[in-house]
């Protein structure tokens, strides 16, 4: 039998029994729709979380700090040494000193951190207000970024953060004396810095400035931390292992992401299970329909067999019919699921907008996932059709033709 004839013969049920056919498709559709919307929710949640913690290059970076135990120190030489590793594109250091910050007569303790702009990218530091240092700002000597906690020192409320951009603060560095005693030398920086941005780091008292500017006032022998940018994802664990081997303490954001992903895969699996139950229920319904159709068509099968249809022709007719129903069920399920997801999302965003919240995409439907669902539902159709089809093809034509 030719494909086009098979297609024509196996879509007859839309004419002969449109009501039942569409109801079967709808049943399959509701089942797959449940899977689509629930897994879509899983994808959406995962994306929201990952968007919060993943910033481009920061996923490919390792934060290296000294354990202090084996006398390992992070020095300018260490930076060069790291950069010599072939898998390492760049290494950006961070130097840290305690300092006093003064704003309009109020003084508080902070840590001044001297970094180069790439460090901010590798560490994933962003600004909640104002601007981050970019590569052009490498030689900047007049501005700093401070953490939200520092603002608290000056009694600035959360709502007034934006207004603090452009304010001037002055700094006094507290540098340990290099004569072996516990004394601290106070180095007064005789100028005022403009606050260019507020970081997103919670719970720390920090002020960020450019490393060259910091060097103008204090000699830097040792770094607090070095961010190592690895070239590819594959090399990340290798470099990490090497560094740990050498005795450094290494933290990787990718690990956090991985853990988050694992959690979300778990959540998705739970959601998919619920959807799957709906799908199984509708598949059983479809199986039932196909079996009833078989009984109804028994006589027709007998007729076809006696006028020259082979057992395989009969089998193909049945299977293709159920595949068509399954596939259309999948498509309608995708349509229903996506529509429901998008509608709920729009509704939620309107509500969130009313209460001053941020717009989020709670549901996400990747194309390959939808394609998988469409193919999967066709497979479910095939599975529900194959057993009735086999039975149909083995019927004795004579018994079949006399069936009423």
């Amino acid at each position: 039998m030719r494909i086009q004839d098979l297609a024509q013969l196996s879509t007859r049920m839309f004419k002969t029994n449109p009501m039942r056919t569409w109801l079967t498709i709808l049943g399959m559709g509701v089942g797959t729709g449940a899977v689509v919307v629930l897994v879509g929710l899983g994808f959406g949640l995962q994306q929201i979380i990952l968007e919060q913690i993943v910033f481009g290059e920061s996923l490919l970076s390792l934060g290296v700090s000294s354990t202090g135990a084996q006398g390992l120190r992070l020095t300018p030489e260490t930076v060069t040494q790291f950069e010599q590793n072939e898998a390492v594109l760049d290494a950006a250091p961070l130097a840290r000193f305690p300092a006093l910050v003064t704003y309009k007569g109020l003084t508080g303790n902070v840590f001044v951190q001297g970094v180069e702009p790439p460090y901010l990218r590798y560490a994933g530091i962003t600004a909640t207000a104002g601007d981050v240092f970019t590569d052009e700002d490498a030689g900047d000597a007049n501005s700093i970024m401070i953490s939200p906690a520092t603002l608290k020192l000056f009694g600035v409320e959360d709502e007034e953060i934006d207004g603090f951009i452009g304010e001037k603060v002055s700094l006094r560095l507290l540098v340990p004396a290099d004569d072996g005693t516990d004394d601290v030398n106070e180095i007064v920086i005789d100028k005022e810095y403009t606050v260019r941005g507020i970081t997103a780091e919670e719970g720390v008292l920090n002020a960020l400035m450019m490393l060259p500017e910091l060097r103008n006032y204090v000699g830097i022998e040792e770094y607090e931390r070095i961010q190592v940018r690895v070239d590819t994802n594959e090399n990340l664990p290798l470099v990490e292992a090497e560094l740990i081997e050498e005795g450094y303490r290494v933290t990787a954001l990718s690990k956090t992401v991985e853990q988050a992903s694992q959690i979300f895969q778990g959540i998705q699996a739970v959601l998919a299970t619920f959807g799957g139950i709906a799908l199984v229920v509708s598949a059983i319904g479809m199986f039932n329909t196909m079996t009833v159709t078989l009984l109804e068509r028994t006589k027709e099968i007998g007729i076809m067999r006696t006028i020259g249809a082979s057992p395989n022709d009969v089998k193909y007719l049945f299977v293709s019919e159920s595949v068509v129903v399954g596939f259309l069920g999948g498509l309608s399920g995708i349509l229903m699921g996506v529509t429901l997801g998008v509608t709920v999302n729009i509704f939620l965003n309107i509500v969130a907008g009313q209460f001053g919240g941020q717009a989020v995409r709670l549901f996400s439907f990747p194309l390959d996932f939808l394609a998988f669902i469409a193919i999967f539902s066709a497979c479910v159709g095939y599975l529900t059709g194959i057993f009735p089809a086999r039975r149909a093809s083995t019927l004795n034509p004579l018994d079949a033709i006399r069936y009423e």
Partner: protein
């Protein structure tokens, strides 16, 4: 000598073998069917005639014996190849038409070609030309449910011919059709046999069809009880001289298809002993009388048909006898009409007078035929008796008895001979005049 197209040797088919409801549908059947033959498998229901046909068709594997079609044992092939044989060698027509209701007439006819992977243009052209040939081309776009039974069966004939098969199988093709459609379908099947030279194997229990066939196999209880050659058709099966002769029994078998060969022999003898006419004369006499009773021919034409020589299509009986037959028939018909009128009014008491008059008339007629003179009392009793018999109050035996009873006890006191003659004649008149399906 040409080889037969289909050969069955000791063919047995057993349904539900090994189960408690085991049933032997065919037990040791032998047939030789030659190319171009028109064969009818005839017999009562349950005799195994359809079983034999479907075994030949390829859907019922024989339990024992051999079945060869074109020299091949089709059941030795795997199902897929057997299908090829069914597609190209066999066409089939069913009693129930068995068209697929969800497909148009054209697609129904083209369906066997769809299974043969033929392209749409070719098969539609072929299907349409067949539909045109069998007179249903104008409904090709409709669905089968919109067609009459006769049309559906002609569509089904078209479908059976679409792959140009060698053998056409027909399972009581006219069982569900009215007489006009039956005639059309039988003519088409005959045309396929005589014009297209296809072998026809038809299952039937309608004796009227037997004259179409070359040979008829009579089946009973799973056995072929006899094989009857139709002397009116030139035989295809080679006949060895002196081996088979065509006898009167062949003719009788078509007249009385359900009787055994022994009964037919008895019939043949009794006919000779009691009748002056041969079976052929009787058949022609019946035909002519039927036309006369129905009023399709008048008395003159009736007599002419009876007198005409046998060679010219008449019954060939003497003119005097013919006139007697005509006049008796005429009188009977007239009186039968009176009986019909009488019965039509039997529930209507308001016009009893005219009913009484009808009974009087019937009485007069009866007395006239047998030239019997009656007293006044006898006359009254006779009228009453006739009224009772015509309304059904008395049966024929009771009437006979009352004719012989004394006058005082309501009878006529006739002799036994007179009573018997009168009863016999009157029963014939009643038989003519009573509608079988009268109103309740």
């Amino acid at each position: 000598m040409a080889k037969p197209l289909i050969v069955c040797r000791d063919l047995s088919i057993i349904y539900n073998q090994g189960k408690s409801n085991e049933f032997k549908a065919l037990s040791g059947v032998n047939t030789d069917i030659f190319e171009g033959e028109y064969i009818i498998l005839f017999g009562p229901s349950g005799c195994g005639k359809s079983t034999l046909m479907y075994a030949i068709q390829g859907s019922l594997p024989p339990g024992e014996g051999t079945l060869l079609v074109k020299g091949d044992d089709v059941y030795s092939y795997p199902p897929a190849e057997r299908v090829y044989f069914q597609r190209h060698v066999m066409g089939i027509i069913f009693q129930q038409f068995n068209l697929i209701m969800s497909l148009s007439v054209l697609d129904n006819v083209a369906l066997p070609m769809i299974f043969c992977d033929r392209d749409k243009a070719t098969r539609n052209r072929r299907a349409q030309s067949l539909l045109d040939r069998f007179g249903v081309g104008h409904v090709s776009h409709k669905i089968p449910a919109m067609l009459s039974g006769g049309q559906q069966q002609r569509v089904s004939v078209s479908r059976s011919m679409v792959n140009d098969p060698k053998i056409l199988l027909a399972d009581e093709p006219t069982g569900n059709l009215d007489s006009v459609s039956t005639q059309q379908v039988m003519d088409k099947i005959d045309e396929i046999n005589t014009f297209d030279r296809r072998t026809i194997i038809m299952v039937s229990h309608n004796a009227a069809h037997l004259s179409y066939a070359h040979r008829v196999y009579y089946l009973k209880d799973g056995l072929i009880v006899r094989e009857v050659v139709n002397p009116q058709r030139k035989q295809i099966k080679p006949v060895k001289e002196g081996e088979t002769i065509v006898t009167e029994l062949e003719q009788l078998a078509r007249l009385f298809p359900y009787d055994s060969i022994e009964t037919l022999r008895v019939k043949s003898l009794v006919n000779y002993l009691t009748q002056d006419y041969t079976f052929d004369q009787l058949i022609r006499l019946e035909k002519a009388t039927s036309l006369f009773i129905q009023g399709k021919v008048d008395r003159k034409a009736f007599i002419k048909a009876l007198v005409l020589s046998y060679e010219r299509g008449g019954v060939e009986i003497p003119e005097k006898e013919a006139r007697r037959i005509a006049s008796v028939s005429e009188k009977m018909i007239k009186n039968a009409d009176d009986i019909r009128r009488y019965r039509a009014r039997k529930d209507n008491s308001g016009i009893f007078f005219s009913q009484h008059k009808l009974a009087e008339r019937l009485k007069e007629h009866l007395l006239q035929v047998y030239r019997i003179k009656l007293s006044k009392e006898q006359n009254e009793n006779m009228t009453e008796l006739i009224a009772d018999r015509v309304t059904g109050v008395t049966g024929d035996e009771e009437m006979n008895e009352r004719l012989m009873k004394g006058i005082r006890s309501g009878g006529l006191a006739l002799s036994e001979k007179e009573a018997d003659d009168l009863t016999r004649y009157f029963e014939k008149v009643i038989a003519q005049g009573v509608d079988v399906s009268y109103k309740s």
